[in-house]
Symmetry: C2
Subunit: 409 residues, 2 copies
């Protein structure tokens, strides 16, 4: 069992306090480093992004801004307005710009959609990304649909539809792949669901992690192409994860033109920065897309290898994931709190303690896939931690959980 | 009188269309340049920012980001959350962080405040920055208080208070200095107003241009320091103008802690980008502030000289301004449309045609103060334009507006 030294306990409590002040989200690396200069983070495995895509963007970025003046213009002048940037993205997605609402990060789109279009009741699957229920205003009833742990958190379609029929919500939320468990709904299943959900006013589908999922081939299986057929679809997309640019704040929503107009009538004029506009101008270029596709596949392959290797570590259960992170459950009496802090303070690995996630029963940690080298370091550190805890257990004669054979390894 | 050639008319109409699609705001230089590559803009005098402050920020920026890795981290990782950045700004403003709501540009703060705190009725002085009334939801009654042109758009305090007493709004908006006319309310007058307005739920004071105003000395006369005394104050501040960083999107609102909490409960988690966070970390540094103060005073001096020189041009009336722009009225029959387009297409100077501003009766153009060199170019171009129009008038025998004496000059 993983336990903390008195000093580790002290620091852990202080970090917990910082986290509590950050609401339902982990404090950023910057905040953490600033407030705890002694905590040396070697791998940020809380952070959900493709590091190879970040590098690719930096490459384009540096070429463009070798001319210092270009970058100064980006900082100095107003960026283009929402609808202008939507026109760029529309060309790439091959849909009408009238269907696109650009966001200062996906979280702004979530906020706008939840505040403006949910009427009375929404169903949210749990565990989930907390903003979906946190942003619901006081007069909104949030009903939870519990994803089954036994079923690896996969959505049971008929069971789900039954609850929808019973509850009659005006809005449903489907995150695909789901955060924090990485479970995935196939495109054919999604189409089936959408057809069955035509009485629901808003079907919100969050595809922020869809670039990391694959079915038979490597193609991205987005529901964006269905927007003309189903008027109640709202697809939300973060660019932070797949493109590794969380600091820029860039995302969008795809929805019917009446909804886009409703939002734009109420503000969101210059909600994208000059840097975000620049990102979208790069994003739609063919040469960027070609190179991006390569780093996307490379990252998926490495992530799946990482998950397989994690599965072999004793003492944890690793849930299958089609996202760029994986949910693990601690089986042998360790708490997520102790595991999270021990991994951070002794090994410098920052993960996501999922104790605050509603709909998770047990001790859960979410670990992001990073570079190949970092993933190796994560695996090695976790093995260290368990070996270490076992040898300590060996010393403490009162603790009966490990057999002799396990300790010997 | 300024007239357009057929070709100029054609381009002007196309630009007008682009403008109409941009709502009540001018299209950005980037959008304009993209859609009209033939239109060569030499001076962007539509753009309200201190160019010397931009340069100062670039200097700090380049020093920091000589280490490429630092900049990559800024793009790659999530920025700190709203409340963390508020703590930085609080230290600089010498107020509590609980009073500060950070915004993705001041326009986000305006949107949040108007949507969340205006109950039934608000009074907005006109002419004004259109977002204040545009963001009002359908059930809000907007009452206009007309600033008197004869009085150089200065607010007549008693007249204003009389209208407030009569209308009983829950919210009033005071932009100081006012946009687009540059009229200014002194701090003592503002304090008088605030005391008289204690029955109003929300006194919104937009101080986005306050750094350009001066009274007896050069000190910035902000009402922020009154926040503890008056619970109904909401001070909104853009950083785009005084610091010349519109592309970053950075602003904040100062209001009572209950209002800040109300907004944060509803979202606005990571609404500032990594670059915006970096800006605020620079902004609060003593050495930056010292250097900034110098470029602020330099720019104010140049702006006032620019306004004085403009005042000497015949055919226009120049209104006094305490902002970094000036409102001019065309007196001799030229339309704002023709003047705006002629100045753009023949001289490459992009100004703000104020024809769409409610509360302005006549032909008005707003001109921003830029660098000393650019301001000279603006003056020279405007003199050219008027001379040119006069000589053309001389040729067209049917046109009686100018006396012989004027034409001879």
């Amino acid at each position: 069992m993983i336990t903390l030294t008195p000093q580790e306990k002290f620091v852990s409590t202080a970090i917990k306090k910082l986290k509590e002040n950050s609401g339902s989200h982990s404090p950023s690396l910057f905040t953490l480093a600033h407030q705890f200069p002694d905590v040396k983070i070697k791998v940020d495995a809380c952070f959900l992004s493709n590091p190879y895509a970040s590098q690719l963007f930096f490459k384009f970025f540096q070429e463009e801004f070798q001319n210092k003046r270009n970058f100064e213009n980006l900082i100095q002048y107003y960026p283009s307005q929402n609808t202008i940037i939507a026109q760029l993205v529309a060309r790439h997605l091959d849909i009408s710009a009238k269907n696109i609402f650009m966001g200062n990060g996906a979280v702004e789109v979530i906020q706008a959609v939840i505040h403006n279009f949910v009427k009375k009741k929404m169903i949210v699957n749990i565990p989930t990304f907390s903003s979906y229920y946190e942003f619901a205003k006081e007069n909104i009833e949030v009903v939870y649909h519990q994803l089954s742990q036994k079923n690896n958190f996969n959505l049971d379609l008929e069971n789900y539809l039954k609850q929808v029929e019973k509850e009659k919500p005006d809005t449903v939320v489907l995150i695909n792949p789901n955060n924090p468990d990485g479970s995935y709904i196939k495109l054919t299943e999604m189409e089936y669901l959408i057809k069955k959900l035509q009485d629901v006013d808003n079907i919100i589908i969050d595809e922020s992690f869809i670039h990391f999922a694959r079915e038979e081939d490597n193609q991205i299986q987005s529901t964006v192409k269905l927007i003309d057929k189903f008027n109640n679809l709202i697809i939300i997309k973060s660019m932070s994860k797949d493109f590794g640019i969380a600091g820029i704040r860039a995302g969008y929503g795809v929805m019917n033109p009446e909804k886009v107009n409703h939002l734009l009538k109420n503000g969101y004029l210059w909600n994208l920065s000059g840097l975000a506009e620049y990102f979208f101008r790069i994003y739609i270029q063919d040469d960027f897309q070609k190179m991006y596709e390569k780093v996307r596949i490379k990252y998926i392959n490495q992530t799946q290898t990482f998950i397989q290797k994690l599965s072999k570590i004793e003492g944890i259960k690793v849930y299958p994931s089609q996202a760029n992170f994986v949910l693990i459950e601690l089986l042998e009496g360790s708490t997520a709190f102790n595991f999270f802090n021990k991994l951070l303070l002794e090994e410098g690995i920052y993960t996501r303690n999922c104790s605050d996630k509603i709909g998770l029963r047990g001790e859960f940690i979410r670990i992001a896939s990073r570079t190949k080298k970092e993933n190796k370091k994560i695996i090695k550190s976790m093995i260290n931690l368990f070996l270490d805890s076992q040898s300590k257990t060996n010393i403490s004669i009162n603790y009966p959980k490990f057999s002799h054979e396990q300790v010997r390894i």
